[in-house]
């Protein structure tokens, strides 16, 4: 009691000492997600053609306790007169709980309808983007994986303007955002993280809500640079050239010395190249049940990765008191950058090879180089149908337990991985 009183007086004294000229209303909110899960398949099914163990949604064949865990605290200081400062610090299990500022920005409410913000914030690509890490806010353990895979470009430094207004009985919300981000990315095909930059990003999102119905559309464009050219030269172009030469010299023929121009190589790089993103989402949530449909397209227009990639999912559930059974079906597919591939192939002189090595060997070289180059472009091709079924149990006013079975049919590797996961999502 005494200790408590003393602490209270101590705190009051401290509060008095640091009370600023104007009253600041400070608010703390937090959330956490704890996930445990495991793949259900036999080991041999879970390897790609190179023999690497493939994880599924971050799970492998061992019970995994930490990689999906998230713990975050958000502080918001209301400075009065419409000005506020918000910061969110997040620690993720996948980063060994290395706490980072996921966002930090200043907001100014110009009018009740217009708010402008400046700083580091989440890019609202998707319907659930801005609460992506807040498991409590959505029904599933994680939002549909393929659709929500934006390669790590989650946050941006920039300016955002939001305009919320009534249009008849509808509530309209327009978000405009401009900014840039420099980061490092882990790309699954490459051994080490690479430098990445998104610049000159412009984004426009518009959502309309009427009672239980919401529709949202978004368009974004940016210039994308990835530090992948050295890798692509080493594991792509130079390797292909070296392999052709070693095969030729191995059978006593002269080396070809195949070399691609920088211009053609650029078709596989990302060097300030335009990228576009667009999507549409529908949500109907009258209470007893809910349905969400979302479809997005990422069009990189250049480079070695999936191009364009589309993702579409349908999620629905029924609220039976504290129990909410739900399911999701998702389809993701991508094309490859055929233009980039053809630009490189145009520099392989088929007739010249036949003239130099004879038509048989010339054809073999031509098709071998073609296959090698194509591999550079199709390595991240994706065609996958994914399904999950689960149940959310709101066992506590601030916590939900979820149990989910997830599976997918991956047509690229002809795999059907399965996993089961449970999570506890908390907000406080």
């Amino acid at each position: 009691m005494n200790v408590k009183l003393a602490t209270r007086f101590g705190l009051s004294a401290l509060a008095l000492a640091i009370t600023p000229a104007h009253a600041v209303d400070l608010r703390f909110d937090g959330f956490a997600t704890f996930v445990v899960g495991q793949m259900l398949d036999d080991d041999e099914l879970n390897h790609d053609p190179q023999g690497n163990l493939m994880t599924f949604r971050g799970f492998d064949d061992q019970i995994n306790f930490q990689s999906n865990n998230v713990f975050a605290i958000q502080a918001r200081a209301d400075l009065g007169e419409g000005l506020s400062a918000t910061a969110q610090i997040m620690a993720k299990g996948v980063d060994d709980y290395d706490a980072k500022f996921s966002w930090a920005y200043l907001s100014y409410e110009l009018t009740p309808e217009w708010t402008i913000s400046a700083g580091q914030m989440r890019i609202p690509y998707f319907y659930y983007s801005e609460s992506l890490d807040v498991g409590y806010s959505y029904p599933f353990i994680r939002p549909p994986f393929n659709t929500y895979d934006i390669g790590g470009f989650d946050n941006i430094s920039g300016l955002k303007a939001e305009w919320q207004t009534d249009v008849g009985n509808w509530v309209s919300r327009v978000t405009m955002l401009a900014g840039r981000t420099d980061t490092t990315l882990k790309i699954s095909q490459l051994p080490d993280p690479v430098k990445a930059q998104v610049s000159r990003m412009g984004l426009l999102a518009w959502s309309m809500n009427y009672d239980a119905f919401t529709v949202r559309g978004i368009y974004a464009r940016a210039n994308l640079s990835l530090g992948v050219s050295d890798y692509l030269d080493a594991i792509g172009f130079d390797r292909i050239s070296n392999e052709v030469d070693s095969t030729l010299t191995g059978i006593g023929l002269p080396a070809l010395g195949l070399n691609f121009s920088n211009d053609a190589r650029h078709g596989a790089y990302y060097d300030n190249d335009a990228a576009e993103f667009y999507g549409i989402a529908f949500n109907y949530d009258p209470g007893p049940y809910f349905v969400t449909i979302e479809s997005t397209v990422l069009d990189l227009q250049n480079g070695f990765m999936q191009n364009p990639g589309t993702g579409t999912y349908l999620n629905a559930g029924v609220r039976l008191g504290k129990i909410t059974p739900y399911f999701t079906i998702e389809r993701a597919e991508s094309d490859y950058n055929e233009k980039g591939y053809r630009r490189l192939m145009a520099e392989v002189n088929h007739a010249g090879l036949q003239a130099q090595y004879g038509s048989l060997v010339g054809d073999l070289i031509y098709s071998g180089v073609g296959a090698g180059l194509k591999q550079v472009f199709v390595s991240s091709l994706k065609e996958e149908n994914a399904y999950n079924i689960g149940v959310r149990y709101d066992f506590h006013p601030s916590a939900a337990f979820k149990l989910e079975y997830m599976t997918a049919k991956n047509h690229n590797y002809d795999l059907s991985p399965q996993a089961i996961a449970a999570s506890v999502d908390v907000i406080f």
Binding site: R27, D29, F31, Q74, R76, D78, T86, Q88, Y105, S107, P112, E113, S117, M121, R122, P124, E130, S131, D133, V134, Y136, S137, Y138, E162, Q164, D166, V171, N209, G287, R319, K322, D394, P397, S398, A400, I427
Partner: protein
Amino acid sequence: MNTDLSRKLANAGLLRRYAIGALLLIAPSFASAEIAVIVNLNNKDKITMDDVQKTYLAKTKTFPGGGKIVALDQAEGSTSRVEFVSKVVKKDEAQMKAYWSRLIFTGKGVPPKTLDSDAAVLEAVISNPNAIGFVEADSVTDKVRVIGTL
């Protein structure tokens, strides 16, 4: 005669209140209190229950007359709030929490300030011309304007 009648009526009212109180004590889970949505007496705007619902879902930030809304909430699990959330916002408290968690962590909204009793809400509404709140209908005084009861 007249005074007798009014006394009797008053007594009946008291009795009824006690009887209801006793019932509430016996079977609190079946209690369904009437909720009154209240604003400051100086607030002359026409406000519908739809407007109130939108206010508590952060879809409306201003009164029809243009005044910036200061919405007041009550503690989770309190009779007033459970009734209000179910009848006016048309969600249950868990759905309300999930909904607001999206707004809070996206910076799209700051939840209404939580006060700890009907008395505190009444006091806040009396003193703030832009305030809106909800209390059990029984607690309402003539110092606030009732938009509606449910």
